[in-house]
Amino acid sequence: MPAPPAFDLFNLPDADVVALAQQGRDSAFRELIRRYERPVFSLIYRMVRDRELAEDLAQDTFIKVLNHIDRYRPEFKLSSWLFKIANNVAIDHLRRRQLDTISIDGSPHAQTQDAIEATSFDVVGQQESALDEMEARELGGAIERAIATLRPEYRSCIMLRHVEGRSYEEIAATLDLPLGTVKTYIHRARHELRKELEHLRDD
């Protein structure tokens, strides 16, 4: 199959673009990045809530996937593979930094007021960023704040379900979780978000 011109890649399914990337077509690699940079970056950004760090982790995700593109098996969705790696790098980072237990109100393990303040997640106090701009808008801001309060496991499940529109089965395969666990996480995440956003509905 001769390499099609770059503009033709737009209309090709993922599997065909991957096949071209496996043949060493630079434009195919760039097309895969173009297709998934926003979803992957958004997922990671909402997990780590730091733009620069999210870019680094998203970059790591793409480098890992594209450097092993020859191992891609077409029976799986490329997006699922990307999200799996993205979630893993974000979760690994959070674990390394021990941020996984930090909520907007501080770590539940914090014993003193100082410890609570030190571990609290001051969303409003972040530097100016796209996320802050979002939070300036009432519902958009509230939902972003509410997502930030979720446990990382719930966060990735709910983002894949409602932002990326993935089925429960796909999420289970992507995150290597049992289907029942995914359903439970999404149910709990919705419940927590409902509580967080209650005041907006009442207004």
Binding site: G24, I33, R34, P39, F62, A130, I158, H187, R190
Partner: protein
């Protein structure tokens, strides 16, 4: 009217727009039950808000930064195919002519090879003749070298010992030449070390 309120799992089924046969009674229930309808609306509000959450955009140089760390490797078969494609003519008729020519050539070569493979006695004879020719050439060349190096009289003595003697003399000559070269290199190296 069913007075049992919806369970959390059943509310999830409605939120996920499931279409199984068990969903119709749940939908019928929320039409009649204000309490459950309010619960579903409340949950739907969250889901709608989540579905409106936008994607964030990484920096403009993101793609370049990724590609800087992804070595693009072109497999050998793709390179070979591209090279062939480069030499092929563009027009359809010319490609057809080249294809026909290549097929004819391949067929002739294949038939020729098959014929040779079936003629074992011819192959054996040809191999034997070629072997004799090569052996004769090597023997003549070796004899000339030895005669030039050791002189005709000494060579006549060596020749009397047969092929083994000539081979041994040649090997000795090669070993002596190799030793001399190595010795000269060692001397040159020692000399340059002293100068340095």
């Amino acid at each position: 009217m069913n007075h049992r309120h919806l369970l959390p799992d059943e509310i999830d089924l409605l939120l996920d727009d499931e279409v199984g046969f068990g969903v119709a009674p749940l939908k019928a229930h929320i039409r009649d039950c204000d309490h459950c309808r309010a619960k579903v609306d409340e949950a739907r509000f969250v889901v709608d808000a989540l579905e409106d959450v936008p994607h964030f955009v990484p920096s403009l140089r993101f793609s370049d930064r990724v590609m800087a760390q992804v070595p693009v490797f072109v497999p050998w078969h793709v390179t070979a195919r591209d090279t062939v494609a480069k030499w092929l003519p563009q027009s359809r008729s010319a490609r057809f002519a080249v294809g026909a020519l290549a097929t004819s050539a391949a067929s002739i070569v294949t038939v020729l090879l098959l014929w040779i493979a079936t003629q074992t006695d011819v192959v054996a004879l040809a191999t034997g003749v070629a072997g004799d020719q090569v052996r004769g050439l090597v023997y003549d060349a070796g004899s000339q070298v030895l005669a030039a190096v050791f002189g005709e009289q000494f060579f006549a003595v060596i020749q009397r010992t047969g092929t083994f003697g000539i081979a041994a003399a040649l090997l000795g000559l090669v070993a002596a030449a190799g030793g001399s070269i190595a010795g000269l290199r060692a001397l040159a190296a020692a000399s340059s070390r002293r100068r340095g």
